[in-house]
Each structure stands twice: as C-alpha cells, then as structure tokens.
Amino acid sequence: MRKRLAVGALLSTVMLFAVVLVSGSQAMVGGSVPNSAKKLTASKVTTVSLNGWVGAKVEDDLLKTVIAAFEKSHPNIKVDYSGFNNYQTTMLAKFSARKPPDVFYVAAEDFADWVRQGVLQPLDSYAKKTKFSTKPFYTGLANSFKYKGKTYGYPKDWSSLGMQVNPALLNGQKVPQTWAQLRSVAQKINIAGGKPICLGADWARLMAFVYQAGGTGQFKDAQSAPFRVAVNFYINLIKDGLAATPDNLGAGWCGEAFGKEKVAIAFEGNWMLGYLKDTFPNLRYTLAPMPKGKTRGNLAFTVSYSMAKDSKNKAAAWTLLSYLTGKVGAKKWTSLGFALPARSDVKPVAGRGAFVKYPRFTHGWGNQVDFRHVWTEVANNELTAVLQGKETVNEMLSKIAAAAK
C-alpha cells in the first residue's frame, strides 16, 4: 500500500517534469520593465552607480580619489561606487534582474558576449553630441570595444606584454630583440635549478607570438600558418630545455619564477612591476619590448567603462563615463602606474616605455564571441595537452579552430 503510493508519487513527479519540458513553448510572463526615463532638473542631484571588480586596496583608494575629484567638479552628480568579487557572475544576475549599475567595467574577454546579450548601451551618439574626443584612444584598444561598427565602451586603461630581463643571469650577453636572438641568448644561459625563460601555458601569452608571426590572433584562424609557426617556436623553446612553464619552476606564475631568479627572461605585463617591487624589492631587472618575429606583435589587455542599456540616468552616466575615460580622469587614474593610460594624450609614468613603444602592433585581447570558453576551456587545455606530449600541435589547432567556429 505504502509502496504503491510512493511509486505513484514518483511517477507523477516525473510526469510533471515531462509536462513542463514539453510545454515549454508556452510563454511565461517576461520581466520587461518599461524604461520610464526620469526627467532631470538642473538643481536636483542625480546618483550614478558605478561597479567594478575589487582591485588591490591601493587601486581602490586611487579610484575613490578620482571619483571624489569628479563629484567636486560635477556637484549635481553623486557617484555610488562598489566593487565585488565574482564579477561576471554578479553582473549577469544584475542584468537579468534589469537592475544593472549605470556605469561599470567590461573586460574585453566578456565584451562580445555582453553586447550580443543586448545589455550594453551604444555610445557613439553620446560622444558625438558632447564632442567627446575619441581620437587619442589607441586604435587596438578602441577596437576592443567596438562591435559591428558601434562603440559600447571606452578603454579605462590597459597593459601590454613586455620582456623582463635579469641582466645578472644573461652571462654578459645583450638583451635579445628577435626570435633568433632569444633562442641563441637562451642557449648560453645556465641557471641551477631553473631555465633561461619562463613561458606561461596560456594563450594569453602565446598569442603575442602569433601576432609576431604575422597571424590574425583570431582563434577561428588557428589552423593558419602563422599560428603553427608561433606555437612551434614557443613549444620548441620548452622542448629544447630553453624554457619552462611556471609549475615546473616551483612558481605559481612567471612573475614569481622571475622574482625567485629561476629564469632570466619572462614575458609579463605592467602588473608585474608592482608585484616585483613589493615581493622582491632587491631584484635588479630591465624591461624591454617583446622580441620581433616576422613582424612586431603584442597583446593589449584592456577593460572598458560601459553604460547599461537599462540605465535610468543615462545623461549623468555619460558625464561620469566620459570623465573617467577622458584626459583628466585617465591622467588621475594612471598617475600611480597601476595601469597604462589608454590615450596617447596622457603619458604613462616613468619606466613603462617598453610597453607603449609600438602601439601600432598591439592588438586587443578578447572581443571574440564566446571568448572565455574558447580561451580557457578549450585553447588552454589543449595547450597543456600538447606541452605534456598527449597531443600534437595540429590536433590542438584544429580543435581550437572548431571550438571558435
């Protein structure tokens, strides 16, 4: 008796799911809230919300001083700033609740996906109306936030890759400038318990070499010749014992391996400088541009300030956005050197020259559909498979190309 009841209950539960599954076509009430734009009166103070991810405390403090400066020069706008962890997850929840912040960070890696979801506001008309000068933005960076000809964000800041060299470990050789020199210099370096070069098992480093080989940098083109050339160069450095990935050097990343003097050469970005200064204050090193292959090539890691399509204070939001990405805001924000200015009319702080030397050859990282999936889930896993000898380069490239298409 009891058993039959239990079976009956089970069956009806299963039926319930089946019914819901099949009848899914019937629309449920969508959550579209009419955008009743509030009218602004000149005297009224508007509050604009600004969200980003949590940075180091010094960075957060700097952003707060930039915001304070903005509020001082714009007394009728108040900025409500907060940063959080798990940024992508949290933002998706805010978008779907139709309660996004007015202005927020967008990582170039998320950009294409977020535009396609229709949550970002096109900004071209605002820029035109307020005569916001977009020319000073480096092209590679500005393009990172364009989709089908429209702009959905302006770069907040950026960093490219550079070559960090520990001159004491070079055995008196000159800093290499080309791929060939990189190999020959590495062959004459001898580090006990280490390797000459640290290379990340990450396409966010390898792709710079693809550009240097003359490639497009688009994962969908992974089967083109420049990809093969760059991958072979990169992997052969490791196979020939001239380089190693950080996990084989007892380090979490190449910055740590470089700081511990397990390698003489590493390829990291601006973030490395503050890290080395804090963690290895006695380390002497130089910063050089990325080596040249067939051509020059570098990656630009960048983040935009964008506006929500569902923002209810678009006019004020634009005022804030254009201040933060404009000359005054960008200068204040990059004044301590945590990141590089995205505008050519703001000079970076001293010692960053190598990063910004060849802006023409610097290409935005991201801005491809489903980028995070292809990059972290497919391309990087395939790369580790190749590095551990479980797969051939050709197999990897064809899988990456397939995933990106």
């Binding site: 076509s25 998706l92 979801q117 229709g118 996990d247 489903d370 889930e377 990087n380």
Partner: protein, 302 residues
C-alpha cells in the same frame, strides 16, 4: 496492524481528521520543498528549451539537448572525469568511513576525541581545505619536500599535472568526507542489537568473522544510505575543481566536471544550455538512485 487499518477505513471522519492533522504537519516543509526543489527543476526544464542568455531568447525546442549530444568537451572530459571520480571516490569514502566508524564504535580510550577528530575535516569549508592543499601539493610544497627526504626527489606540481590533478582531488575528498560517512555508519552500527553479537560470541565467532558475517550484512540500510549520499555528492563535484583548475577545468581538461562545465556555460550567458546540462545530470542521478534502491532491495524501508 491489519485489524487497525480496517477499523480506520471504517471510521471515515476519524481517518479524515487524522489525515488532515498529518497534512497540516507536513504543509510547511512540503511547501518549502515544492518552492525550492520541485519548482526550480521545472523551471530549469522550461529554460532549457530556450536560447536563454541573460534574458529569455527565442524558443529553440530541443536544440540545446541536440547540441549537448554532440558536445565533445562535455562527453569526453566533463562526463568522463565525473564518472571516474565517482567510481573511485565513492568506494574509498565508504571504506574509510566504515573503518573509522568501526574503530570509534569500540570501547577504546578517548573515543569521543577520535570521533570529533575524524569528523573535523568534514566541518571545515572545502574551499579552505583545497586552498591549503594547493600549497601542500605545490612543486616546492610540503609533500614534495617530505618525499625528497625519503629519497624521491622531484618537483611535481600535483594539481598542475593532468595525470595527478584528479587523483589528488579524489584523495583530498575521500579524506574530508570520510568523517561524514563515519557518522552515518556509526548511527547504523549502533542500531544493530547487541544480542546478535552476544549470540555470535557464544558460538565462538572471532572479531574478523563477526564483522564480515554479522556487522557488514546488518549494515545494509547504512550502506544504501551512505552510497546514495556519496554518489550524489560525487556526481555534483564542483568546488575542488573550481579552485584547482581556475574554472578552466585544466590542465588538459583533467579537472573538468559536469557541474563545473554547467557553471561555466551558465555564467558565459548560456543559461538555456546550462539548464539542459542540469536536467541531464538530474535525470542521471535520479536513475542511479532508483537503480540503487532496486539493488539494495526493500530491507531498508522499515
């Protein structure tokens, strides 16, 4: 029993009242159950039929399921790893849990201390444990320096190598959850009547024999419960992979699990697809549990 039932059937109003009181008692938990368990599953089924990004997109029928059917990352890596993980970790957890339970069920000194000590890892947050383990298992970590002293010098980064990442997680999890399994087994052990043991002792059965002939078979309901809980937990493994592989499921997909893949798909704004994965996982777990019920028979429904 039978007489009583017949009586109840005869007295309609009394039975009704009794039933009402019963339903009254379960009304609150049942409504929570419906709201937080049944409704989300139904809603996930609904979402899975749409191209659902941040907002509801067009209705796509069974396209998400069709796409999932052809998804090589899902089948070759996520599902495979999850099954391997489950097949290894469940017996391990049960064996360790049972051994611990038998040990702390003896009348030994400091019994309470051992019970708490074995249970302690289950109380700590898995995120904290994995974070500490990443240091211990780093290439210049505690484990390697210990092995180095024993003469096995190497610089494995256990979590960063594809052949050791998943086994490392398995070992870690078997250790952390064994305490919970011990607790379940302890409860079932204490439900076994002492008379049976006395009878066995009189018949001259040794400790080993008593365990295999008496304790182990009488623990059947315990085995069932522990196996179900353990399998469901294993099939839903997420946090360890999430921390070790940094959402990528790396190195070389070796820590990609079904739930990690679901999470990644969901929060790259493919909620429809993620919901389809969730439904598939749900149906799978549901089926496995039903099969287990059949295998273990009716004994536990007492």
């Amino acid at each position: 029993m039978a007489v009583k039932e017949r009586n109840a059937r005869g007295l309609g109003s009394e039975r009704l009242r009794e039933a009402l009181v019963g339903y009254g008692f379960i009304a609150l938990p049942m409504s929570f159950f419906l709201l937080f368990f049944i409704f989300p599953i139904g809603y996930a089924a609904y979402i899975s039929r749409y191209d659902w990004g941040i907002f509801r997109g067009p209705f796509v029928g069974f396209d998400n399921y069709r796409q999932l059917y052809h998804d090589t990352v899902f089948w070759q890596h996520a599902v495979r790893n999850t099954l391997v993980y489950t097949a290894v970790v469940v017996p391990l957890q049960m064996a360790i849990g049972l051994s611990l339970a038998v040990v702390v069920n003896q009348a030994i000194r400091f019994r309470t201390f051992f019970r708490s000590a074995f249970y302690f890892p289950s109380l700590a947050s898995s995120a904290a444990i994995v974070s500490i383990a990443t240091y211990i298992l780093a290439s210049d970590g505690l484990l390697n320096s210990f092995l180095g002293r024993l003469g096995y010098e190497h610089s494995y980064a256990w979590f960063a190598r594809q052949d050791t990442a998943l086994p490392a997680i398995i070992g870690l999890n078997a250790w952390t959850t064994a305490g919970t399994m011990m607790l379940f087994y302890l409860a079932s052990l204490q439900a076994i009547s002492t008379e049976v043991y006395e009878a066995a002792a009189i018949d001259g059965a040794g400790a080993w024999r008593t365990f295999w002939k008496i304790t182990f078979p009488l623990l059947k309901p315990g085995h069932f419960f522990v196996a179900v809980v353990s399998i469901i937990g294993a099939l839903q493994m997420f946090d360890q992979s999430f921390i070790v592989g940094g959402t990528s499921g790396g190195p070389n997909y070796s820590t990609m699990t079904v739930v990690l893949y679901l999470y990644n798909r969901a929060f790259s704004a493919h909620f429809g697809y993620a919901a389809a994965i969730g439904l598939v996982l749900f149906v799978f777990i549901f089926t496995v549990t039903l099969i287990q019920r059949l295998l273990f028979g009716k004994a536990e429904v007492a």
